[in-house]
Structure formats: structure tokens, C-alpha cells
Assembly symmetry: D3
Homo-oligomer: 244 residues x 6
């Protein structure tokens, strides 16, 4: 059940049996030579849609822009200041909480969002904890960080899965948008690895934007596998979260 | 050309022949008994997609959340604080400007965004005007405010077009998402009109969320007409804007 | 009744029969070759004084500085950051609301204030709507935007009225401050028109600061006419506003 | 020379021989049973006008609202949040600095402004010190804190001068606005003294708003004396400041 | 070499051979029935002192307050808003960077600081990356998260090490402050575990403040072992960091 | 009784007989050729420790960083933005107030903190005054500003006490940290005096960082005297403050 495609009266009825909601959050940033700039928003959007197909779970519109400061040396990347992203998350949760929602499950597609979104949760708990009639719970679920996904990626690609513009996320984005598959040679086969500091430094270390990955291995078929695994894992985790 | 479906190298090439970009911006708010909560994001997203089909124009991901404070008495509405929305717009423009973009054309779906987005433009001009190598131009194009749209709405619905949850926007959202059409009786035939103050007051004055409209008249066919008109009008306006 | 010239006990008595207040808001910015930098504050201050002469209406001190970013390429212009102005408006309304005021009628002299002040109203409604004992209503009345003023300006000056440093506002400021009338030749007779972007761009397009106007036509006598019309129109509008 | 009554070209000429400016800053707050709510803005405005009569010194429009948190338990008081006032001062100075002004002399009427305005100066120095072409100097001159004023107040009223709603400031405001003189018995003859904490506490300690003063002793004639002394003292101090 | 005990000329000389600095950061929050409220500041302060004994490394004063929102239901806990902590970290780094420091190594004592401090690093990189003359590198070293510490804790306490008010941190704080050792029975032997949401919820789940630990096992002797291990591990890590 | 060395249950018991707390606040900034960068934090920390020895008074951890913008032209100085310091003070007081503390006595070591900390108190009063169950009182006690200290400094050093890097504060810091005493010739014998504007200007006027002082006269013995006097004076003042 998509919030964007519902009426307010449908939401009113939904709240009678559940006060949980799933909020996809991504980013708009370079994903290497063949990865889509929207990868990190596309993946959680697709996974959340998969969850919604299974059962009556409300999915909020995707937060398409995230904290991508370190990718800013590549054209097309957009970054929110961390403090802006913190405020966006606070406002979205606070608004929905006013209607009676209590469990906010963010399906996240981007590592750079983890620190600011986690920070936002603390601000939210500080602001809303006085409201004992419907206490608030927030969870950030990074779709790629669970055993099922990690195991499959390891099995399929070994170390070539990488850390940014990973084979799994490029595959999943291709599965979601087959019309956007890019076919091109990529060198070197595996991208370098290292630590992340400033944007200029990132580009110097990782000239084509990848970190440790071989996204030329990406395929729609693998994307479907990753998507199905993520849908199952996150649906189970969300169900458990509702009981907390 | 969708930014989300492009690579950073494709954006690099795009910038060689154009430094303009279109950014759809909407909201997530009640739209009356049969209107979709996502209406104001769906319409500019659909129109921008139409523009992109016509020619090589880059479309950024949609800003799905807007300033909807006055709709907060209806479940499902999400509002950014005005100052949050201002910061989001600043960050998106500032990021893209760093890559060389100069002309930012926001296709807007929501009246409540006008004041904060216009405010953001002033902050942006203050911040970025020192950069004389690529001066910045921003424009907010409210899709429903042009002669072609106004004329058709008047012709089809007269006063029943209304001011919120209008027949034209509900039609356009149905055209974009036929799977979400809602069929229901609505009373009274035409909703009341009045001024907007607090959210509680809004609900008192406009109990089902509509302002002055008869959205039961909405249809997919009319939505297609509105969409085509808007695509043509905004494409022309965007082309002119690039010359400023 | 001027708030600045009252005691707190007089305000206490005023609140027994009215909870409305008028707040003039202007700016400090260039107004072309013969217009006063204080024009936009002087006009609403003078109009508000006229309203106060008619009847027992409380007038707050004028907010003398506004959002004038686009005039910053002309010496003497002062601009508040939009977010500063938003905060000023919030603080003024919130303070007075704490004493029991409920209806805040801003008489505005400057187009650039419209977006940030409107934005501030949304923040105010969000912050104060929980206080149901005395709900808040805000209105921004742009003195030059009403039928009576528009009609007289059209009749007297036709298109030469213009958009910035208009003949009507220069006249009204001369009527309020006859000691500051400037007499000088101005070329060209009618200033150019165009869109507003950055400050540097503004000065390039409008070299002497005027937009579309012939302020050399300004006169004290016309200023008196405009003032009287504005006083009558806004008094009536304010009375109506109190009933909302 | 009033900035509000000048044109931008007059300011341009003024800058050729001086880069100093005087900015009156006050507050809008209770001043006891017979003191005007505008006292703290009226006094610096009147003194600055006196300075401007003497010689060619530019006077900016008055900042009418200040930090009056501790007076908020009395109707009619308006307070800016300290951080708002800080931002207003930053914006005014930064704007004028961009035009080439370097010496900013604030004539202050209100003790509560001292901490936030001094704080703002530090922020300004941090922001603008990189601009070595025209370094910035700010000074806060509290009109009532100089030997001449203190001596006369002591001589005329002894301890009855007090700390808030002082006889000298009420006198000066009456001299500036004789139409607003209030004549009334006041008990007790001298108001209590004490420390300032919250607004509620202030009202408990100082029930009619005065601190330690006997403002029933105020007179227009004394106000003229205080005004003349302040004009002379501050003119001399301003001249010296320009040489720093 | 302690910054607090140096003169500015000694710092000037230090900068000739190193541009790195170590900044201890902690918190002021409950640490269970026998743990010190200052534990998280005491541990990194003590470890940093140990590092400084080994060689010429500059140690900044400790940031004693951190983000401890979730402990606020226990008396004595102090929390900075996450956004305040972010700003503190930005200001400290930015100040030192202006003097020529380039490598900022935070020795952290508190898990709750990780998200906001990491967030601050992104803001810092955004702000300072334009300064190519001395690019900035920040690292957050959580003293308890390294193999040596983890291994010893596992060996000594197994699962009773826990997650908050751990045996290792209580031991280290006792070693640093033997005068403050608390001797008391604690029940149950091992504290419960669970997820962290609001402060009220934290207290409900973890009534005496511990998470999963048996801090009654803490000892000065073990504290000395943990301290020495941490000093060695972090000194090596810091040396490596300087080469990045 | 040090908060950092207490458990939360000890604080709970403390609150049964007192709701007052002492918070040392300093800065990290140059203090001339032989003064310690930590002087302003070291002095209040040492004095507070002395107070705590006398009786059961709770001492919070020291705020080690303050507002030192004007010292930023000397290596090693760290400054918080004034608005950051304001927020830190607000957060510390607000946190402790939530546990039932009502009287917050800041022992301050640095003149530059006075404006922002005083500003913070106003924000705190605004935020917390609604909580009538335990009203809040804040006081900033500048340790060097009391008759006993002033008299001794005058007697020992006359004018050579100075205004920054004073003999008394350098002495007190040496008493607290005898291991850090610096012995060196200083010229000229007495440093120049003047007003404070930007950091660059400060260094130009006061090349070695001192203002008007002869800190080569500093001694551990005098530091002990100053410390004892300050402990007595502030203990008495704190006791009185608790009765307000
Ligand atoms: Ni990604
Ligand atoms: Ni709409
Ligand atoms: Ni105007
Ligand atoms: Ni006053
Ligand atoms: Ni800990
Ligand atoms: Ni000092």
C-alpha cells in the first residue's frame, strides 16, 4: 500500500490496525562507470514495493536525496548537508507521529546516510519522548547489510562485490530499471579500496567512482535474486520491529 | 534523460551542451476524498517525464516532500518545516551548481511550496552570486498556473475546478496512475472556499479536504489532456528560461 | 494607538476589547535615483498611522529591515537573510500571542518580503496551533496591491507606474517626508522591465535601480491621495480580518 | 543624514568621505506604569537624530525590537530570541560592509541587548576578518552609560534614578514624544531592586515593572538635558571610534 | 604534550614537525550502579595521556559532554543535542585547521558520539575541502573497538563484558581514578540486553543502567591492562593515520 | 563532590538535599609568552575543586572550550562560534534541569564567554520558565571579578596585573599545574593596552598575546593565595545564590 497512491481516509483506516510505516531513503550520487546515479534510491524503493506486494504495509514516498558529500567530485552527485538530512528525517517522522504512527522503519540504500539518520533518531527521541500516549520507535535497515545478501554476494562475486557501486546494488538497480542497463568495458577489473575523507581525495583514490567492486559483473537476473532476498529479510525484520 | 538513470559520465557529457536541469517538486498531503496523497509529486513527475521524452533535457529526482503544514489535520499528510524545505532546495541547487549547472527549473505541484522555495532562491542568489564564472538562475514553474491549463479547466469544469484537490490535478494523477483511481460519491458537489490559517482551522472549514472543487468529475482522459498541455507549455517556458 | 507610545497597562486594557494588532513591515533598500532608501518602511508606517487616527487600533513599531537581497548591488541597501526575517516575524508574533493577541495584520511595503513572511506564517501556525485557547490568524496586506491603489496609479501614470521605485510609492514617501523630496532629471523616461535573479544581474538590467517606472512623476499631492486610499482600503480589510 | 531619507547615489557620495555609520537599536518592552513601551528605541533614535543634526553622519533606521525576554510577563512586550537578534545585527552589518562601510557604531537603548549584540560582533569578526581590504570595527554605545549622564542623573534623582524605567530614560522619551507624557500617581515612591532571572520571577519581584526607580519624577525639561548630554558625549565618542 | 599546558609559541614550534593532534571526546552519563558518570571522558583522557607520555604528540583538552540522549532518564546524565555536538566538533577542528593542523584524531569513549561525530566530519570536509594548501583528515577512534581490547575483555569476562557500563571501561576509569572506586553488590549478576530507543524506554529495559555487563568484576589492575593495550593500539593507529 | 566521579544513584541522593550545581567553564586560547593555553579552564577547575573540598557541593565536568575568536591569530587557540557555545550551555543546563536541578552556578575563567553565556541564560529562561514546578536560576561568576581578588592583584602588581594573560591567572594556573611553569624573559615589561576587534587586529596590537600585563611576575605562591581567596569568595556567593 503506497502512501502516495492512497487517500487520507484510507490512511485513517490503515491506522486502525497498524501504526507502522516503511520509508525508503536513498541518495543521488555517482555509482561508477556503469552504475546509475539513482542506485541508492532505486534499490530501497524497489525493495519496499516488493514488501508492499506481500502484505498490507504502508510505504511512504522515497527520500531521493541523501548525504553524499564524499561523491561531490563526480558530476551529477547531489548532497544534502548532513544537518539538512537530519531535519528532513525529523520532519517526516514528526509529521507521521502526529497522525498516530509509532514505528518508523527506514529502508536505506546508502552508507553515507547512516550517521546523519541515526543522529536524527536521537533528536526525534528527545523531542517526542514526552508523548507517552504513542511512544516512537525508529529503525534504519540498510538493505545490503544482512546475512542473506552478504552470503549471496560473496558466493557470486567474492571480493569483487566491493564497497561502493557494488555488483549487488548495480544488479538490483538494473532489475528495477532494465531500460537503463549500461554495457561497457571497465578497467581495472577490480577497483581500489581505501578510506574516505574529502570529495577531492575520493576522486583521486577512486578515479572512476567505484570502491573495490567489479560492477561489470552486474546482471538483471542477479538483481532479481538480491531483491527477493532483501524483500524477505526486511519483511521479517519489519514484522519483528513492530513487536518492539 | 533522467538523472537517476544516468551515469556520472553521461552527465559530464550532457554538461557540454547544456547547463540547465528540471527538478520536479511536490508534496505528500491529503487531496480530498478521492485524490491521492501523492498528487502534488505525481503531477510534476509525470509532466517532467513528458518533457524529457520530447528532447534531451535532464530531469532530477523528485523532491517528494513539501510544505504542507495546513493539511496536517488529515492523516497521511507529511510536512517539512518551511526552513527545512528551504535548506533542501538550497542544497540541491548548490550541489548541481558545483558541477557547472546554471539554470534550475523547478516544476512545482503544490501551492504551499511557493513561499519557501522562492525564499530559498534568494538565499541561493546570496550564496552563489560571488561565483561569476557560472551565474545561477532559478525558476519555479507551477504547472497549473498557465493560460492553457486554466482555460481548459474553466471550459471543462467552470468554478468546480476549485483550489485544492482540483479536478485537473486529480485527473492528471489518475492519468499517471490509473491503478489508483478511486470511484466514490462525494458530497457536497462543490466544496466550500475560504482562507487558509492553521491546520485545525483548515479541517474545520474544509471537512473532507477539498477547497472549492468537485474532484468526482476527474477522469483519466482529462488528465491526459492536462498533461499534454502542461508538457507543451513548460517545455516552451523552459527553453525560453535557458536564454535568460 | 501606537504600541511604542503606550504603557503596558494601556495594552492590558486594549486587550479587553480587541486582540488584533497591525504591524508595519518594510525594508531598507535602493529605490532608484530619486526614491528614498526607506520608502518601503515609510509607506506602511505612514499608512498605519493613518489607520490609527481613525479608530482605536494598536500599531506595533515598524520592522525597518526586510529581505532585499536582489538590491544589494546598490550602496545603502541592507538585507536580512530570508531565514533571519522569518525568525523576526515568528518572534514578534509569538511574543504578542503570549499576551493574548490573536490577529496579526502586517502592512507590508516590500514585494521581497512576501515569500519569507508568508513562510513565517506557516512556521507560526505549526508552533502555535496547539494553543486552542486563543488561535492565531496572520495576514500580509501589501498596501499597493488593492483595486483602489491600482486604479489610481493606472489613471495617473499608465504603464509608467512601474514595478520598483514606482511612482505611487515614491509619491507616498514624499507625502510622509516632504523634507526629503528629491528633484532631478531622470533618463530614460521609463525604466526597463525584466525578471529578478541575482543582485549583480539586477544592477546590470536596471542600472539606476528602477524597474519599469518614471518616478520623476512623483508628487506630494499624489502621495496624499494614495495614502488616503490605502488607509481606507486597509482599514476595511483589517476590520473584516478581525471577524475571521 | 538619515539613510532612510537618502538615495543610493547619496550614499555612494557619502562613502567617498566616510565609511562610518550609526545604527540605533532599542527594544519594545514595558517600562513601568508611566514609561512608554517604545522607550528603549525612542531614546537612541532621538539621540542619533541629534548627532545627525550636528554634522554629516549617516544614521541607519532603528532596530525597534530587541532582547526583552525578562519583561515578557507584562502585556505589550515583544522579544526577539537572543539568537534572532544576533542574526539581525550580523545581517545589517554584513550588508553595509559589502558596500564599503567599516565602522559600525550602535547607539543602544536597552541593557538586555548588550550580551547578544556583543556576541554578534564576535560572529561578525569571525566572518568578515578575511576581508582585509576594508576591516570591520563594531562598537556598542549604551547611551546611559557615560559620566555625563550618570552624573546628572545622580545629581537630579540620587538613588531614585533606578535600573529599569529609570527617570532619565522616561524623561528623554517624553522629550522626544511630548504627546505621550503620562501623568499618574505611582506607589511605592521607589521601586524595589534585585536580580533578574525568568520573566515570571521579574513580575513577582517588580510588580509594576520598575526596578529601583521613581519615574514619576520624569520631565520633558530633564529629558532635553539628558538628550543634549548624550548627543555631545556620543558624538565625541563616535569621532574617536572612527580613528580606531 | 598537553595543549592546555603549552604556550602558543610551543604550539608554533610543534607545527614545524607535525600537523596532527589527538582530541579526547567523552560524555557525562550514567554508567550503572558502580560506574562513574564521567567514565566515557575519563577513559579517553587517560589513554591520550598515556600516548603523550610515549612521544611528542599534542593532546587537546577533552570534550567532556557528548550525545547521551538515551541515558537521560538517570539523574546526573547530561546530553548535548546531536546538532550541538556536531557544531562543537566542527568548531574545534576548524579552529585548529586555521593554525595549520591537518590530521585530527579523536579518541572517543562513547558509542552515542559515533553518529554525530561522523556526521560532523562530513560537514568539515564540505567546508574545508576548498583549502588545498592543507587538506584535512579526521578519524574517530573508539578506544574499546580494537582487537587487543576485545580479546582481553573476552578472555577476562566472556559475555559479562556487556555493552554499556562494561567491565573494561569501569576498570579503566578506576585505574585512572582509584579514589573513586565503588564497592557494592550488584543484582542481577549480568544485566539484560536489548535495543536502544527513547530514554524512558532505556530505563524500563535496563533499570540500573547497565546493558549486558557485570561491572562488579571491574578492578584497577584490569584497568591498567586495558589502558596499556589501548595506548599501544591507538599510538600505532595514530602513527599510521598521519601517513594518510 | 565531582559529578564525573559519582554514580547516578549518588546524584539521586544529592538531589534530596540540594538542587544546586557548579559548572566550571573556560577556554583554550593563547595566554601570552609564558601563560598556558588552558589557563581559563584550569583556573575555574581548580577553584571549583577547592569549593568541593569545603563542603558537599556537586561540581560538573569543565566546559574546556569557549568563545575565543579574538585570539585566533595565535596558534593553539580554539574557539567555539558564539552560537555553538550558547547551545552547549543551554544543553547542559536543560539536561540537569530535567533531573531536578534548579540553581546553575557557572565559575567562569574567560571574559570572552560572558556575552554568549549571558545570552544563553536568556534562552534558557525563555525555554524553561513554563516549568513552574522547579524554576531555574543561572549565575555566571567570573572568578577574577570580586573585591578580594582585585585588591590582592592591585596590591601585588599594581597596573602590571593587566587584562589578558594577567599575573593573577597565570599564577593560579601555575599553582594548579606546577609541572607546567615556564621561566623566560618577557619584553616589554608591561604589555600594551587597547580595544578588542578582529583576531588579526588583536595580534597587531598585542604581538605576544598579553594585554597590559607582566606575567613574568607570576608565581605558584601567589597562585595559591588567589586560589584560596577565590574559593572563599565564590563559596560564599554560591551559598547566597542558593537562597535566591
Ligand atoms: Ni550505493
Ligand atoms: Ni495539490
Ligand atoms: Ni518599494
Ligand atoms: Ni529602558
Ligand atoms: Ni561508556
Ligand atoms: Ni584568561
Amino acid at each position: 500500500m503506497q502512501l502516495a497512491l492512497s487517500t487520507w481516509q484510507e490512511v485513517e483506516r490503515y491506522l486502525e490496525h497498524s501504526t507502522g510505516i516503511i520509508i525508503p531513503i536513498g541518495s543521488t550520487e555517482q555509482h561508477g562507470p556503469n552504475g546509475l546515479i539513482g542506485t541508492d534510491a532505486i534499490c530501497p524503493t524497489r525493495i519496499a514495493a516488493g514488501i508492499a506486494e506481500q502484505e498490507q504495509i504502508l510505504i511512504a514516498p522515497t527520500i531521493n536525496y541523501g548525504m553524499s558529500q564524499h561523491h561531490m567530485a563526480f558530476p551529477g552527485t547531489v548532497t544534502l548537508r548532513p544537518t539538512t538530512l537530519i531535519q528532513v528525517v525529523i520532519d517526516v517522522v514528526t509529521s507521521l507521529h502526529r497522525h498516530g504512527f509509532t514505528h518508523f522503519y527506514f529502508v536505506n540504500g546508502h552508507g553515507g546516510n547512516i550517521a546523519p539518520v541515526t543522529t536524527a533518531f536521537s533528536e526525534i527521541y528527545a523531542d517526542l519522548q514526552g508523548d507517552i500516549s504513542h511512544p516512537v520507535r525508529c529503525k534504519l535497515a540498510n538493505w545490503w547489510r544482512n546475512d542473506a545478501i552478504t552470503r549471496l554476494a560473496k558466493e557470486l562475486y567474492g571480493d569483487a562485490e566491493g564497497y561502493h557501486a557494488t555488483v549487488s546494488e548495480v544488479s538490483l538497480s538494473y532489475y528495477a530499471h532494465p531500460e537503463a542497463v549500461k554495457d561497457m568495458p571497465i578497467h581495472p577489473a577490480i577497483a581500489p579500496t581505501g578510506d574516505i575523507y574529502t570529495a577531492a581525495d575520493f576522486r583521486r583514490q577512486f578515479p572512476d567512482g567505484r570502491m573495490g567492486s567489479s560492477p561489470q559483473l552486474a546482471s538483471i537476473a542477479a538483481g532479481e535474486q538480491f531483491c527477493n532476498l532483501a524483500v524477505d529479510a526486511l519483511t521479517a525484520d519489519y514484522r519483528h520491529f513492530l513487536t518492539c
